[in-house]
Amino acid sequence: MSTQSPDTQTESETDPQAERLERKEERADEAASSTTETAEDTVELKVFRYDPEIADKQEPRFDTFHVPRKQGMTVLDALMHARDHFDSSLTFRHSCRQAVCGSDALFINGSQRLGCQTQIQDLNNSDTVRVEPLPHADVVKDLVVEMEHFYDQMESVEPYFDPSEEPEGEQLQSRENREKIKMSTRCIWCGACMSSCNIAAGDNEYLGPAAINKAYRFYFDEREGEERQQERLEIIEQEHGVWRCQTQFSCTTVCPKDIPLTEHIQELKREAVKSNLKFW
C-alpha cells in the first residue's frame, strides 16, 4: 500500500509526517461526513445533570448528547467528547483513563462501573448509554458524588501497616502469604462496591466491603505479628463490621479490580467465630 507518490511532494518541503497527518485528517473528514446522515453512528448519551447553584439545574434532569461512535470508545471518552464539544459545564471526575486512579466509578446502564474501563460496544444496550452518579451517595454536581463518607469508612479500619514490633532491615514474607493478600491489595478506592451494597445504603455506619477488604489485607499480612492481628479482629468484629454483610455479592460483581470481596468478608467472619470459640 505504498502511497508515496512523488507528485504529492510539490509543496515546499512537505515532510512525510505532515503528509501522514493530512491523510489522516481526510480520512476523519470522510468518516465525519458519512456519519452525519446515519444516526447509527452516534451513541446516545443520557447524562444526569444537577447543580445546586444554577437555576435550571437545581431540579435534576437528564441531558442527551449524540456522540460520534469510534472503535474502542469508552464511556469516559464519550463523556469527555460531550464536555469538550457540546457542554463544558458537564462535570465528572476522571484522571488516569486506565482504571488505576478510581476516580470515575459511575452508574452506567444500571450498574456500577468505571467509565474509563467500560467499552460502549460491550454494553447490553450500546445505542443508548445512561450515565448517573453513584447511587447511595449525595450528588455534589452532575456525576460528582460526595466521597467523604467512603474515605471515612476506609480510614476507620486503621488502614496502615503497623507491626507489633518495629522491623529492622528487610522483613521476610513468604510467597504464599503475599499471594494470600494479593487480591486485597488491588483496591483503587473507587467506591463502586460500597455504592452497590444495599446494606451499606441502609446502615451508614456499616464499614462496607472496601474497608473490610482493607482490614483483611492487614489482618492476613504475616509481617504485622499476632498481637496486632487480635486488635484488627476487634475492628472487624465491631457492631457495624463484618456481621452486617448479608452476602449479597453485588460488591464482588461490580468491583472493577475483580477482588473477591464477599469471600474476604466471609473469611473474616469465620476467623472471628474461630478465635472466639477457642475460649469456650
Partner: protein, 141 residues
C-alpha cells in the same frame, strides 16, 4: 459551601430492575423468613386448641369431635387455606434451599457459583411445589 443532592428513597427501592442475583436472594430470603416466623406464631395459636381438646372425653377424641381436630379439619376444608399451604411450602422450601446455599457461602464454598446456586434454589423450589400440588390439594374440591 457546596450543597449536595440526596436522591433519597428512589435509590433504595426504585432500582429493583437493576438488582443482581445476590440481592434477589437476600430479598426473598428475608421475605420467606418473616413469613415463616409469622406462620409459626399462628401455627402454635391453632395448635393451642389442643389444650382445650385434652379435657375432652376419650370418645369425643376418638370420634374426632374435639376442638383440635374440628378446627384443623375446618381449616383444611377451606380451599384458600389449601392454596396458602402450597404457598407456605414454597416459602419453606425456598428458605431451606437458599438457607443451605447461605450456609455454604458462610463456609466459603461455592462462592463463584453463588448466582447459579440461587437460580437452582428457585428452580428446585418451583419443581417441588408443582410436584406436591396434587398431594396438597387432594380433596380440596
Amino acid at each position: 459551601m457546596s450543597q449536595s443532592y440526596d436522591r433519597g428513597l428512589i435509590e433504595d427501592f426504585g432500582r429493583w430492575r437493576e438488582f443482581s442475583a445476590g440481592m434477589w436472594a437476600w430479598v426473598f430470603h428475608k421475605f420467606t423468613g418473616w413469613v415463616l416466623i409469622a406462620y409459626l406464631f399462628t401455627h402454635i395459636a391453632v395448635l393451642s386448641t389442643s389444650i382445650e381438646a385434652a379435657d375432652a372425653s376419650a370418645a369425643v377424641i376418638a370420634n374426632g369431635e374435639d376442638v383440635y381436630t374440628q378446627t384443623l379439619h375446618g381449616l383444611e376444608s377451606i380451599v384458600i387455606v389449601r392454596f396458602l399451604e402450597v404457598g407456605l411450602l414454597a416459602v419453606a422450601v425456598f428458605h431451606i434451599l437458599n438457607g443451605v446455599r447461605l450456609l455454604l457461602v458462610d463456609l466459603g464454598l461455592g462462592l463463584e457459583q453463588q448466582d447459579k446456586s440461587f437460580y437452582a434454589s428457585l428452580v428446585l423450589t418451583g419443581a417441588i411445589v408443582v410436584a406436591s400440588v396434587p398431594t396438597f390439594l387432594t380433596g380440596a374440591f
